[in-house]
Symmetry: C2
Subunit: 287 residues, 2 copies
């Protein structure tokens, strides 16, 4: 089982920053990545819809005998992780808890900022998780809906992005935060601009890097490191890979191999969990 792959999933391309962080610490592990690009973004959807999609995503990866699942998406982690843990028996790590634990341990003045999608901010998931570590910490959250399209447009050092960042981050700077959680997996792409706006005295926490460290801990505890590199990583998307490939190569800085478009929503969650065989259907044109 230790040579089984690690499954990582996200609503799209943002989770590749988590993939990158895991890969950096664990180059020997084989990773299967799913980006649900046909239904991105999750960040503006209702909790019940996010849960339904997340169950379909997880069920798809479970079919590949993964040894653990990493939810590389703050929205899914904030609204669906408990429900996923009930449904699936492999270990499941989300990005909220590792980021929250790290934020609570490093803040010096007890004032932590969180930037995320609307859904993550509305869920209060970071605030709850940080206060579970240190109840006296003040947490200030800010939704930044334009950051994802700006990152995907490749405007990571554009003056427009700087202006948008100034507007979104001002309330957090006014609150004198000393730690800022990048609570959406797209945001590390804009890290340089965000750091420039908040100043060098504010520590930025990349939720992907935090969860990658927990993946290492978990594999260590379970003595489950891969014995040797077992084939290339695989990337699946639920819509045409063209746009994903372009943005992915922008995010990863290298060519993407082994990218396949699949259909995961023809069957419902129960059927997936029970092991439906028709889940992996190549996308075909209905015209």
């Amino acid at each position: 089982m230790k040579d089984w792959p690690i499954g990582i999933f996200d609503s799209g391309v943002g989770g590749l920053t988590v993939y990158r962080a895991v890969k950096k610490l664990l180059p020997n592990e084989k990773i299967i990545y799913l980006g649900d690009t046909a239904r991105i973004p999750y960040g503006t959807r209702s909790p019940s819809t996010v849960k339904r999609y997340a169950h379909q995503d997880a069920a798809f990866l479970i079919k590949y005998s993964v040894k653990m699942l990493v939810i590389a998406c703050n929205t899914i982690s904030s609204v669906a992780i408990e429900s996923l843990k009930l449904a699936f028996s492999v270990p499941i790590l989300g990005v909220i808890e590792p980021g929250a634990k790290r934020a609570a341990s490093i803040t010096r003045n007890g004032r932590v900022g969180v930037i995320a999608t609307e859904a993550t901010v509305e869920s209060d998931a970071y605030k709850i998780a940080i206060k579970a570590c240190q109840p006296e910490i003040d947490v200030f959250s800010q939704a930044c809906p334009l950051f994802v399209p700006l990152a995907e447009e490749g405007w990571s050092s554009h003056h427009v992005t700087k202006l948008v960042a100034q507007e979104y981050l001002k309330p957090l700077i006014d609150q004198k935060i000393d730690t800022l959680v990048l609570g959406c997996t797209h945001y590390p792409i804009l890290r340089n601009i965000i750091q420039e706006i908040v100043g060098k005295n504010v520590t930025l926490l990349d939720s992907g890097e935090c969860v990658a460290a927990e993946v290492v801990d978990l594999l260590q505890q379970q003595k489950a490191f891969a014995s040797s590199k077992n084939g290339d990583d695989l990337f699946y998307v639920t819509d045409s890979g063209k746009r994903f490939r372009r943005t992915a190569e922008l995010f990863l800085g290298e060519e993407l191999k082994n990218l396949t478009a699949v259909d995961i929503w023809q069957t419902d969650t129960t059927a997936n969990v029970l092991g439906s065989l028709d889940m992996l259907t190549e996308l075909s044109d209905i015209h």
Copy 2:
């Protein structure tokens, strides 16, 4: 049949600019609007995915005995209208052809600009439709992926939007266009800023207003105007209506009544066309 409602659908809230334009010309008609908010945006998805979603949207409205369908979305109009016309027998109007015809008839210098989503631009639908009217017209297209999130963020007069518009519109201004088609139903929300950037000598064409005029023509031809106002308009969304309501009220400038969340994707296109009874299921939490 003339007292049947008109069905209008879009991937989300953008099509409300078409709803508004139809309503302005035809206040007596009852309209049923569907926004597929659970799967917005369509503009960055592959043609086969857009077609599949569009068939589900249309099949949902057909169940309400609509006398015609208006596709209030440029992406769907550009990639799926022919496929929809094959599948459904009610008259179907898209936004591309009316906008293209109008652009071809009003340009004085034969240089027309089109701004739209990536999918619409890549489909070349406007260029093909405009050249079908007047082959000698030069058409210059520009994808503006940040306009939709900016409109939905309510930043319709924000200086950031002005900077983004300057960047996107510069190549079209350089081409000395005299007519600019707003080829995405969200863009009329940013009309003032776009007009300011391109200057008053460039005529802006709102594709929603163009299709509304064709709806009037078609009802006139078919002598199918409603004899009297037959109940309130109905609005359906496929995800929680909270965000839709907020943006819709921003777009329409009034309170939205009769908004219901429905599930349209449990059955496949064939089942919908044949009349599946379980299509209209209230969204429920799967946890």
